[in-house]
Amino acid sequence: MKKILLILQREYLVRVQKKSFVIMTLLGPLLIAAIYAVPVFLALRENKVRNIAVVDESGLLKDTFKGSKQLVFTPIGNSLQTGKQAVLDEKYYAVLYVPRISVDNPAGIKLFSKKGISLDVEGAVERSLKKEIEDVKLQQAGIDKQVLERIDTRVSVDTMSLTDGEGERDSSTGAAFIVGFAAAFIIYISIFIYGVQVMRGVIEEKTNRIVEVIISSVKPFQLMIGKITGIALVGLTQFLLWIILGTAISTAAIGVLKSRDDVSQEQVDAVLKESPALEQRANMPEKVMTALNTLNIPLLLGTFLFYFLGGYLIYSALFAAVGAAADSDTDTQQFMFPITIPLILSFVLAQYVIQNPDGPLAFWLSMIPLTSPIIMMVRIPFGPPAWEIALSMVLLVLGFLLITWIAARIYRVGILMYGKKVSYKELGKWVFYRV
């Protein structure tokens, strides 16, 4: 046990002190912050008022033709030629030309500009025109706009789940969807990243030929377990630092944005609203937070931790065996394949499982130890029966014990085997070798 701790300590310290670890840990949250901050920042910079001249031959547009805060429309009579000249002289950003059109077929509207027109501006102009023409149509049909506004109804269905005894409980399918998928994704990605690190570590020891020195002091199994747990701790450390740093950076960034005189919170909100994608992103944490309240948080966190560790341990044991059977990084391909298949497959199938979280596919995949860490995590927010969770966990533990046993047997033979192309048949033999 003391030796496992020593190995764990070395694996952990060596990786945590690496430059790449420090850089990734610092850059990770910065990158995420940048994904939010850069579009907002750029949109804010772009945010100057644009003057657009309007040449309206149809006479459909009222003088009061309204733009938005960023777009000002100015009617300049009926000569397109003067309009174009004005744009060339940079008096206007662009000139909007509306030919004689019927409201039923508004074709041939053009926007001339000296520089290229951004998609934002084009969209804004289109939205303004659409509204204006719709108003005209309403008038022609004799519908009062105010009546229409009264008719406009917003509907939102609150989904409730029925449970025995407790009665109704709020449930949010959307939240369950997002949370389940996010959890599965995190597990999937980290199994890959840290599993491969385990494999690299094994190959490094093998190619450096240090393994023989170590193995004359400790058992191969101790070395394998120490390495796997050490790297698991590296992963957990990185997650923890990301959460801390991410929170700190986003708080700081919002603070900076708010404190700037020329940018008000309303402006930030306005930018976010104008771009639907950004809005979604900006509202996501909030939505998730409210939705999270409808979920069973302790169960969710508990199972996440369990399936995260279970999944990581099972797969990294396999990755360690692959590293031991290979002589170099390039050698690993043939054995990587059968390991990554269940992993990738479970992530792909997760998208179907999430559509039908209680179906037979969902049930069986959440029982098989190699797929359950991802599939069960997708199902947990939808509240699968307790016995299924329990059974899946028991099977995962049993699967872990079996797979680690097999992996350890391949490992202990493989790490001392040099310069030999290994076949699957041979791997099978290794499992039953006497040591």
Partner: protein
Amino acid sequence: MYILSAEHIRKRYADHTALDDVSIQIPKGSIFGLLGPNGAGKTSLIRIITQITAPDQGKVFFNGELLAPKHIGRIGYLPEERGLYKKMKVGEQLLYLAQLKGLSKAEATARLKVWFRKFEIESWWGKNMEDLSKGMAQKIQFVATVLHEPELLILDEPFTGFDPVNANLIKDEILKLRDKGCTIIFSTHRMESVEELCDYIALINKSQKILDGPTKQIKNQYKTNTYVVEGEGKLVSLPSMFDVRSMQEPEEGFFKAIIRMPQGVAPNQLIESLINQVQIHSFVEHIPSMNEIFIRNVTGKTDPLPAEELYKLSQTI
């Protein structure tokens, strides 16, 4: 008293037998040469002694006790293919390896300081392993092997990669360790170092032990009753029982002859025959080198004085 005795060891791998009924006894405080050509089974035997693998059959005793994991800390092993973690600092790495052998951190630090001073490598402590040259890394590895002061030290080709100065340094350290009571198993196919260092040898070929015993005894056993005679004059004729294997004239009026006699004939009889014809300057019995014994056993050649050996002998002056 044997520090280690292996009895009837058998070890099979999937497609070949690595060790076939091999028994060796290693006397305490000796330097024991484990010899054999590549692929003979030396490394397999060493891996069993270091408990990296276990034999299919047979038993190993350490100081009379059945070999068990508790003995790991009392054995030191320098593998032939060696290496250390490249991205680790020299000092940290040695501390780590010593702790794996069961030393406390404080004890390991104290001992390391002594070794670093002895090898005059104090400045290497904070260096990364990958910044060291091959020879430097070998030195570090040697320190890692002996730091926990093992009772039994297994060195597999310890001199490869060293320049003559450092090879001598390591050789002196090995002898010092032996004098302190450490037993050393020395696996090699460089026969000159065997002759210099080993008190006992065992020769393994094709998974079997074919020869073992004290070095001197084995050499005597392989004597061929051959003498190298040099002198002045002309050696005309000798009784037919003397087999002149080679005759040379290094200078006008001088000779060098290699003469083999039948078993049981005393050298004085040869001298008697010579003394009437020539002036004898030197009369030396040819004792086979370890190299010769090795080759003779491994290749299975029965000729006690093969042509290449004869040639080598006639060239030395």
